[in-house]
């Protein structure tokens, strides 16, 4: 059974930085990491880029990324840029 290595809440005001910090924590992580995106009402290209970088790093470390609290609008953007398949989603 996978253990949750990290649970990170991403704040809309500094989402890129938050994701970068979370990416650094991946170095020692195992199993699964959960990102809480419930404060993100909208997503911009910078955050998308940071999310993609985070997903790439998680892949390298064989860490599963679970996104929590994703709004419908943000979920649609992730589908449009074909990033949704890189993550698992928790309600």
């Amino acid at each position: 059974m996978a253990t949750i290595a990290a649970w990170v809440k991403i704040d809309e005001a500094c989402a890129v930085e938050g994701l970068q910090e979370a990416g650094e924590k991946l170095d020692g992580a195992e199993g699964e990491v959960m990102l809480d995106l419930s404060s993100l009402r909208r997503i911009d290209p910078g955050v998308l880029q940071a999310l993609e970088a985070f997903a790439n790093k998680a892949d390298e470390k064989a860490v599963r990324v679970v996104l929590r609290g994703v709004s419908v609008d943000v979920y649609k953007v992730l589908k449009l840029v074909k990033l949704a398949s890189r993550f698992s989603f928790a309600t």
């Binding site: 909208r42 997503i43 911009d44 290209p45 998308l48 953007v77 449009l80």
Partner: protein, 888 residues
């Protein structure tokens, strides 16, 4: 100054991408990826967000209009700087004026009366090719359209207009970005090759290709397999008709043809002028500094400006001044010459100047008649201009209309300049654009002026509609004993009383006659007691005409009343085609064939029923037998409904037992089928339920005690009430089966219904193999309605299944009481005979319109199964004996 090869030749652009290296592909992929991200992010923007970006972009375009125009002319060496300024301003200001209040996010249009809402979905990434002729204006226009619709655009400009286009994209992009647009929303290829274009046209993340350019690029876009807006060249015919305001026409043509040196593809190419005004018009052109070419000069233009190999205009002349063109080809003209006008004698390869010329050379043709003028315009239209633009100057509305009918052009500009007129919003109310859809004639998918709605996917939210229903019956129904006396209230000069021999014999006709006012001339027509035939109906129509009748009284069962309905129809509307009126239909309100409303005669129809089953006195149906054609014709329309119905039990007191049972079960079947019909409504339900209650209570009494006035009276009422239900909710599969079986084996209709009834109830109450589309019902309710009927009859039971079972048993018990055979086999029909008939029976039943309102859609295999169940017969009736209907 003449620029050689400013426009590429019209050759098909190949879609090959083999020439691209890995580095170039990575570059192109990256462009698309950026655009895709931008478009995805953009999808979250609200209408207010979008509108906040559009306005400053428009202002930036207006501010930079002159700068961009100058860049365009310097780089392309085409057109007129001042005119390009105007183009840039039209592309921004006029476009904005059109789009500023348009909804392009979320709900864009609502149709409350249709329960429809249209919503916008962005396309995503648009790959856009822009032309050399209108480079910066096209870019400005497309950027505004894209932002308004939340799309990202990758621009690929014409190689010889790259610098000015890139600058236009930069200005738009920086302004958009500054006001909140997502990064990457516009990109422009750094330089491009045909391979780049081919690669991007086929890229999986490009949603739409929007090409404004030559036929090669348009064809490549359409060949890519992607959705494309491809807008290419034209060849605009102009008809200058003799009633036109000539001064306005001549100036408009000069304005248009010289605008940006004729680079707009909607500009005038060949002007067809009526003979009567030809010389005057040419004089007016000459007075305004147009050079009218002599024959040798025209030949010089043909030799130098048209490529003899392709038949197309030489690219070097595109967008050049008339004086420069003249100097280049060695034609002597005045220095202030605006336009070269070349008279031509026809259209086609033999007349080279009849093609599109995107420079200030105009061909003119002298037409001797309107017909000749229209034909020449058609020729020009078909010589490369299909679907694009055409122009007419005339004050004759009929000629304008004819021109519009015969010319295939997305824009037909009337009494205004073609090029600026086609752009929209300046001389008319066309949608402003810089891309002209040319329809299928031009190999395009639209004839529209391309604008925001072509940059959107429109989603339609279609809510379930509450279709209007109806409850229509004769507005006067008289019932109870001696109700026939009400006939005296209907004044008539001449009445035709239609009846059958038996009723005349037993004195029923005399009873009716006694109720007819004495001053009325009464003529009796006795017809056979059988389903009416065409010749019988026509005899009746002859009689009606002969006696000039204003009233028909139908005294009889269904056959007589049906005959009278059709007589009335043919008497009032002699041209009515009965075969055509019998055409099948699915929904009464959408039927193809309409019943006549214009009447040459008028007659009131009073229906007096003498059986308690068909209810024809209140229904809109009539069955006619066409023996010549070997078929039955069922007519259905509310105009067939009698005007007055008389439900007087004195006419049914003498019905024999078998007829009482048959007609009574027909009535019960009407009520049960209307009750579960997919067209059932609270109005029909109330009638159906009451009729069922009356049948269960009074039919056994009327059967056993024929002289019981109350039972006869109530059964007569029940038949009429059940008919009011099925006249509006129709019947179902039981009737379809019974019609087929009864016709094949000569079994009375009510008896045939009885043989099928228990199985049909059980069938309809089970979960359907196939549900019937039923916009009038909320879910599947047949089983619940049967259960309600069981409750109404006091049959007991806890669950719905139990109640349905009790209803089936109660029906079986009633049939037993009425001495019906238990099976088709009991009628003496052998198994072999029945088996041979099954294919025909099934086909007939399935073709029968009755089941269209059945709650369950029958499969052919299910029809066969039902026929066999009826053949084998129902179970032992003893088990039903304990179930007595309780309802009073």
């Amino acid at each position: 100054m003449i620029v050689k090869e400013a426009v590429p030749e019209r050759v098909q652009t190949p879609l090959a991408t083999s020439g691209l290296g890995a580095e170039r592909i990575a570059y192109l992929d990256n462009l698309v990826s950026q655009a895709r991200t931008a478009a995805a992010v953009f999808s979250q923007f609200t209408q207010a967000d979008v509108d906040r970006i559009v306005r400053p972009m428009v202002l930036a375009g207006l501010e930079q209009a002159q700068y961009l125009a100058r860049l365009a002319v310097e780089e392309t060496k085409l057109g007129v700087m001042e005119d390009k300024v105007i183009k840039n301003m039209v592309a921004t200001e006029f476009a904005y004026n059109y789009v500023k209040d348009k909804c392009t996010v979320g709900v864009v249009r609502e149709f409350p009366d249709r329960n429809l809402v249209e919503m916008a979905e962005p396309i995503g990434v648009i790959f856009s090719l822009t032309p050399i002729t209108n480079p910066t204006s096209t870019v400005l226009f497309k950027c505004i359209m894209a932002i308004k619709t939340r799309n990202a655009v990758i621009f690929s400009s014409h190689p010889k207009a790259w610098r000015c286009c890139s600058e236009a994209v930069r200005i738009m992009y920086e302004t958009a970005l500054k006001h909140g647009a997502p990064a990457g929303v516009f990109t422009c290829l750094d330089a491009h090759t045909l391979e780049d274009n081919a690669y991007l046209m086929r890229h999986k993340d490009v949603g739409l290709i929007d090409v404004t350019g030559g036929p090669g690029a348009v064809k490549a876009a359409y060949s890519s397999g992607k959705p494309a807006l491809g807008v290419g060249p034209g060849n605009t015919p102009v008809y200058l008709e003799k009633t036109a305001d000539l001064n306005t026409a001549v100036v408009d043509i000069i304005v248009s043809k010289t605008f940006d040196n004729g680079t707009i593809c909607a500009s005038e190419q060949t002007v067809v002028i009526d003979n009567e005004i030809y010389d005057v018009v040419l004089k007016k052109f000459a007075d305004l500094n147009a050079h009218i070419c002599t024959e040798p000069e025209t030949q010089l233009l043909e030799r130098t400006l048209i490529d003899p190999r392709t038949g197309f205009a030489q690219p070097m002349a595109v967008g050049q001044r008339a004086t420069d063109i003249a100097r280049f080809i060695g034609l002597s003209v005045k220095p202030d010459t605006k336009l070269l006008i070349a008279p031509i004698l026809g259209v086609g390869r033999a007349h080279p100047l009849s093609v599109e010329k995107l420079f200030p050379v105009l061909s003119v043709y002298r037409a001797k008649s309107v017909d000749e003028a229209l034909k020449v315009c058609i020729d020009v239209n078909h010589a490369g201009g299909l679907g694009h633009t055409a122009v007419i100057f005339s004050r004759n509305d009929e000629v304008i209309r004819r021109f519009g009918e015969v010319i295939n052009a997305g824009r037909i500009i009337v009494n205004s300049p073609g090029s600026i007129g086609a752009l929209g919003g300046v001389y008319n109310d066309l949608v402003p654009t810089f891309s002209f859809g040319c329809g299928t004639g031009g190999g395009n998918s639209t004839t529209d002026n391309i604008n925001i709605f072509h940059y959107l996917n429109i989603k339609r939210l279609a809510r379930r509609t509450q279709a209007h229903m109806w409850f229509r019956v004769p507005n006067q129904i008289y019932f109870n004993l001696n109700a026939v006396e009400n006939v005296r209230h209907f004044p008539s000069r001449s009445t035709l009383l239609v009846t059958n021999p038996a009723l005349e014999q037993i004195g029923h006709v005399d009873i009716v006659r006694r109720s007819i006012p004495p001053q009325t001339h009464v003529h009796v027509l006795v017809i056979p007691d059988a389903e009416p035939e065409v010749n019988v109906v026509m005899q009746g129509v002859e009689a009606l005409n002969f006696y000039q009748a204003d009233q028909i009284i139908a005294l009889g069962g269904g056959s007589v009343i049906d005959a009278a309905k059709i007589m009335k129809l043919k008497y009032e509307s002699p041209a009515a085609d009965l075969q055509e009126l019998a055409a099948p239909f699915l929904d009464l309100r959408k039927r193809v064939v309409q019943y006549p409303t214009e009447k040459t005669n008028q007659a009131r129809l009073i229906a007096i029923s003498t059986t308690s089953g068909t209810g024809s006195e209140v229904t809109p149906f009539a069955v006619l037998t066409d023996k010549g054609g070997g078929r039955k014709v069922t007519l259905a329309d509310y105009s067939l409904s009698p005007d007055v119905a008389i439900v007087d039990p004195q006419f049914v007191m003498s019905m024999p037992k078998a007829l009482t049972a048959d007609t009574g079960i027909d009535c019960l079947t009407h009520a049960l089928e209307a009750g579960v019909s997919s067209y059932a409504s609270p109005f029909t339900d109330s009638n159906a339920m009451q009729a069922i209650r009356l049948v269960f209570k009074y039919l056994p009494i009327a059967f056993e005690h024929p002289h019981d006035v109350e039972a006869r009276s109530m059964m007569h009422n029940a038949a009429c009430i059940a008919a009011m239900a099925f006249a509006n909710a129709s019947v179902g599969i039981n009737h379809a089966l019974a019609h087929a079986f009864g016709a094949r084996f000569g079994v009375a209709h009510g008896r045939a219904n009885a043989l099928m009834l228990p199985y049909v109830i059980a069938y309809n109450a089970a979960v359907p193999t196939k549900f019937m589309p039923s916009p009038y019902q909320q879910g599947y309710v047949a089983h619940k309605k049967y259960a309600t009927i069981a409750d109404l009859l006091g049959l007991g039971g806890q669950s719905i299944e139990e109640k349905v079972k009790n209803l089936v048993t109660a029906v079986e018990r009633l049939l037993h009481q009425l001495e019906f055979p238990r099976s088709i086999a009991e009628l003496g029909i052998t198994r072999e005979e029945f088996e041979r008939a099954i294919p025909d029976l099934t086909k007939l039943a399935f073709d029968d319109p009755s089941w269209r309102s059945n709650p369950r859609m029958p499969l052919l295999s299910e029809l066969i199964e039902l026929f066999w169940m009826a053949y084998q017969g129902r179970g032992v009736p003893q088990e039903a004996r304990g179930l007595q209907p309780q309802a009073g």
